[in-house]
Subunit: 244 residues, 2 copies
């Protein structure tokens, strides 16, 4: 699993058939992102408001409203950002294609520049340049990847990713809020929420660490600390506003 989540997996094969496969790893990454955020801000908001003596109904109102707004913002925002990247890729590809047609010598020289960065001599990379020039489609894809560093985005991923992140945010956000729905005293609800959420943050931080290949225990602690600090900040702010 080491590093799987962070590397886009490219299909090996002729460039004209290269597509960026969506992998289970990418869905997992979206879930991790959504749940992480959902576990943190709604929790902090609820804990902060409870600590500042707000009634249960209010904590729930604010908390669930935030989850709704946050899910929409992440989901729609993520979707539009992905579409924007896809448009950007198309525009850059078109421009690169025009340059290959209009000023091939300049483009060929750019391949040389890239190769030269690795200490390669013209007589060493010359045949590569010639080979690419023979195959304009491959040349174009080479420039997209190695000059511009752009991966071809999968249009279906945008929608899927947005939906996954938004849904994960909702699930993450419900964890700290459910106690307020079922426990009548706000102090008891808050205590339950804190315990349940901190446990969830620990577990989730650990899972996150495993999937991203970083140290899971460290990740668990860090994730939990972020939740704790965010809550403290929300609590402090709520108290400050109430003191006005």
């Amino acid at each position: 699993m080491d590093g799987d989540v962070e590397q886009p997996m490219l299909a090996k094969g002729p460039p004209s058939h290269r597509e960026r496969h969506f992998t289970a790893g990418e869905v997992v990454r979206d879930v991790i992102m959504g749940v992480s955020d959902g576990l943190t801000v709604p929790f902090a908001l609820a804990a902060g408001l409870s600590g500042a003596s707000a009634p249960s109904s209010l904590v729930l109102t604010a908390g669930l409203a935030e989850v709704a707004a946050g899910a929409i913002s992440m989901g729609l925002g993520g979707y539009l950002a992905a579409k924007s990247e896809a448009d950007h890729y198309k525009r850059e590809m078109k421009r690169e294609q025009e340059e290959i047609i209009a000023v091939p010598e300049t483009e060929a020289a750019e391949i040389g520049d890239i190769m030269a960065e690795y200490g390669l001599e013209p007589h060493e990379y010359g045949p590569v340049v010639e080979g690419l020039r023979r195959n304009p489609q491959a040349w174009l894809e080479f420039m997209m990847r190695f000059e511009l560093g752009l991966e071809k985005p999968d249009p279906r991923r945008a929608l899927q990713s947005a939906f996954t992140i938004a849904l994960s945010y909702v699930i993450g956000g419900l964890v700290p809020l459910l106690p307020y729905m079922f426990i009548s005293t706000v102090q008891d609800a808050m205590l339950t929420s804190v315990v349940v959420t901190l446990l969830a943050l620990l577990v989730f931080g650990y899972i996150k660490g495993r999937f991203t290949g970083s140290r899971p225990f460290l990740s668990a602690i860090q994730t939990t600390i972020i939740g704790a600090v965010a809550s403290a900040a929300a609590y402090g702010m709520a108290k400050a506003v109430q003191a006005r």
Copy 2:
């Protein structure tokens, strides 16, 4: 500006001196991200709560608490994510280095595989492979970039980025909340907040479009729509909870 924000700018030069420069474009991107989120969720939460007849003090309490929690979550979370990426890069680099030493033939064959994807023949890329093998440091950097697609992260960027995003989120969040601090009637405050924030979303969406090279007017409309939909969701949720 087209595409500037999205491409990391690599310093051209000998690989051993290559570093990922932090550019004004990256700071701008962080500001855009932070302000976008700050303008959306706090606005939606405040509008949703106001619309569901919460008193001004409550809207402010919840709104500012959310801004505090959100800024911490984005800032700390972003910082730790960047550190985690930097650790991941170091680990992958170490592993790649060990492979180059232990199984150079396999690694050399991998260069060939990458080249072959672009229709290049062994006699064309052979000299490149030999050239890289001569220079293990350059070979390592070539594999990092072209096999794994990883850019060397700048450690200072993590802290700077986190701080920028968090501060931007706070600034974005204050825009919809300031009216509630200075206007006593919650309906008037909400109306002012809605007008001011929708204008801000339009302007900001436009600026975002300019910097990312996508159509600015479209970006302005989309950004504003996200804010509107998120508010509607927050309002609907707040009403639903109050109706329990």
